[in-house]
């Protein structure tokens, strides 16, 4: 496994299997009264969030604490970034505390990759712009495998605003890697040109939704309406809302949260036993424990790259 988790592309199928297996064993720990293991005692994890987050940041915090790591959580609104400090300087400052891992979220694509160039710590991408959110994809795989018993051969439909969704990108790659057949479906204005190259089929209607084993609905962001991507939420709901009529018996329903009730999902499906939405949230902690463990304590791993600390980062990268 690579030293950082920046993209689902960094993970082989074996890596994913191992992380899911590890998460299973941590799930057993989470069932105990004392939910802590000493795996990362004495190691420091820094949560650096440059964008609002509830689930991801809190589950990473819980994951680090349950592994007995020392944890520092920083949000952009109360950090030096507010005083105009550059990302590079912030990262190098925090690196001086010798963290074992930096969990980083940013509104910009590739920002976690930049952080990885500037710190010797292992970097976990907790969402970079509309690019990727690999730990979300892992917890989705974990949740789905627990319920369905397998991943191979499942027909997964990802429905909604694919254009603006980092979850969609990571999940297309992750479901594909585990042998699922992936279809994305949404309004033509919210399907990025060229998305087929990620390894999915593209549909603009739900006509064939019946063949899906899993319906993964994406959050429809109201603020996107400003760009006139869809004529109205009403029309969106009429065309794409997953409701009791469209969700067939036996189909599973997933959503990364937070849900807009009555937009992408109707109330009855959210509360139906076919929905895995609360399971997904629950899985967040154990899967993120597994990711931290894999990167910091799992296997022999690559040696800490001593050169990384002194690597001249001001040099232009070779073409």
């Amino acid at each position: 496994m690579k030293r950082h988790l920046l993209s689902v592309d960094d993970l082989s199928r074996e890596d994913i299997e191992r992380i899911l297996g590890r998460a299973e064993s941590f799930a057993e720990v989470s069932g105990r009264e004392i939910k802590k293991v000493p795996a990362l005692r004495g190691r420091t994890v820094i949560n650096l969030f440059y964008e609002a987050s509830t689930r991801t940041s809190s589950s990473f915090e819980l994951a680090a604490k349950r592994l007995s790591a020392d944890l520092v959580s920083i949000k952009a609104q109360d950090s030096s970034a507010e005083k105009g400090e550059s990302l590079k300087d912030t990262v190098q400052t925090l690196s001086a505390y010798d963290p074992a891992a930096v969990v980083f979220r940013s509104p910009y694509a590739g920002a976690a990759g930049l952080v990885a160039r500037w710190t010797p710590a292992a970097v976990i991408n907790a969402g970079d712009g509309k690019h990727e959110h690999p730990t979300q994809a892992l917890l989705d795989l974990y949740t789905l495998r627990r319920r369905a018993g397998r991943l191979e051969g499942l027909d997964v439909w990802i429905v909604g605003d694919v254009l603006h969704s980092r979850v969609a990108r990571s999940n297309i790659l992750a479901f594909g890697r585990m042998g699922c057949r992936v279809t994305v479906c949404g309004p033509p204005t919210l399907i990025p040109r060229g998305v087929e190259s990620l390894g999915c089929e593209v549909r603009t209607t739900l006509d064939d939704l019946g063949r899906a084993d899993v319906v993964y609905a994406l959050r429809m962001q109201h603020e996107r309406m400003a760009g006139s991507f869809v004529p109205s939420l009403r029309e969106y709901a009429a065309q794409y809302q997953i409701d009791g009529r469209r969700l067939g018996a036996g189909q599973l329903l997933m959503h990364p949260g937070p849900v807009n009730r009555g937009v992408e999902l109707s109330a009855e499906v959210i509360d139906s036993p076919q929905a895995l939405i609360t399971d997904q949230v629950e899985s967040g902690v154990v899967v993120r424990m597994a990711v931290l463990y894999e990167l910091l304590a799992g296997g022999p791993g690559p040696p800490r790259d001593a050169a990384a600390k002194s690597r001249p980062t001001s040099q232009p990268q070779p073409a």
Partner: protein, 451 residues
Amino acid sequence: MSTPLDSLLDRAGHARAALLIRRAHLLDPRAGLDGPGDLLVRDGAVAEIGAPGSLEAPADAEVVDAEGLHAFPAFVDPHVHLRTPGREDEEDIETGTRSAAAGGYGAILAMPNTDPVIDSASVLGSLRERARAEARIPTGFTAAVTMGQRGEQLTEMAELAAAGAAGFTDDGLPLRSARVMRQALAYQRLAGRCIALHEEDPALSGHGAMHEGDVSALLGVAGIPSVSESTMVARDTELAAYEDGFIHVQHVSARQTVEVLERAQAAGVRVTAEATPHHLLLTDECVRGLDTHFKMNPPLRSEDDRQALIDGVRSGVLGCIATDHAPHAQEEKDEPFELAPMGVTGLESAFAAVHTDLVVPGVLGLGLVVERMTAGGEPFGLPIPSLAKDAPANVCLVDLAAEWEVGESGYESRSSNCAFAGRRLAGRVRMTIAAGAVAFRERSFAIGAVA
């Protein structure tokens, strides 16, 4: 000599070279030169050309043994950002022209998107004065089409032309309003001078940071579609035809644009166009790692677009190769891709990059590349450098076999955001003579050593 070159381009005081270049391979397709020979530079001009070893050095002349080197007419770049006034931390007239000379350029045109914008005769005048103190090679300044490049009100184009504006452009920004574009073309009948256009429809580009295609879909970075460029070029060639104006389309990036230009030129519209080395050699595949050294506007496009640009350079639809040399501070390029400024430097690597990736593999002929790299002044009415006898002495000496790594010993430019940084290239400029004076000479050149 009172050629337009002399009246529009400025440079610092200089000593006129007396130089006998011996046994170089003289290559100037327009002058019918392609073979070994001697070339004597004296009194600002090519005083004599002769068979290899045939010319005697006058007593006051330095002799340059150029055996194994090529002598081309010095290149002309119609698209350079000197960042002065306003961002002298990124580039100034001295470093920018030094960088150009090191790349084999004998003349350049600077863009007016500075702070303040070059939109008045007084700003233009002060820059020309500064160029007469600092510029290593003849440097022309273009002026903005609209006040503050806001796209609303025309600049005093007639006065700016009289004050020596080499052309007009709002480069960096498109002329959003078709009405303003039409007015500029009509007013061109009074002001003269070419209008150079950065073509893009802001409504289609949106917040795009790279080419819209498979790679942008993967990265989740908003894309700039090819049609953002080509639809504006279609609009402006129509307007140019209607007003009988003449325009130059900058940094063409898309196949569709090449096709629009081809049709317009065939229909007799007076439109010229340029391509940059980075658009000719790189594609959006380079952006996969979100390295900001591959972020520029227009963006690197697909392989299919790249092939269309190469065909356009070959056919002449794209009549010149221009760098769009755009220096940026390191700390600004050290930002996430979507935040980093657009633009890359390229003066020092332009010829070597094109030579390595297009001439060496046999895609384009060396003579054709030399023609396109020397033709940058033509759309602006500036003469094309020549090695012919009695022409003003504009010569660059190049060792085609010399390999070097871009940036290995830094840059003459004040900025290092070169798209070819770290690339190993073949073709090293050893000496540049601009309008009769030595503007650049590689330090190791005299002893023939290779860095």
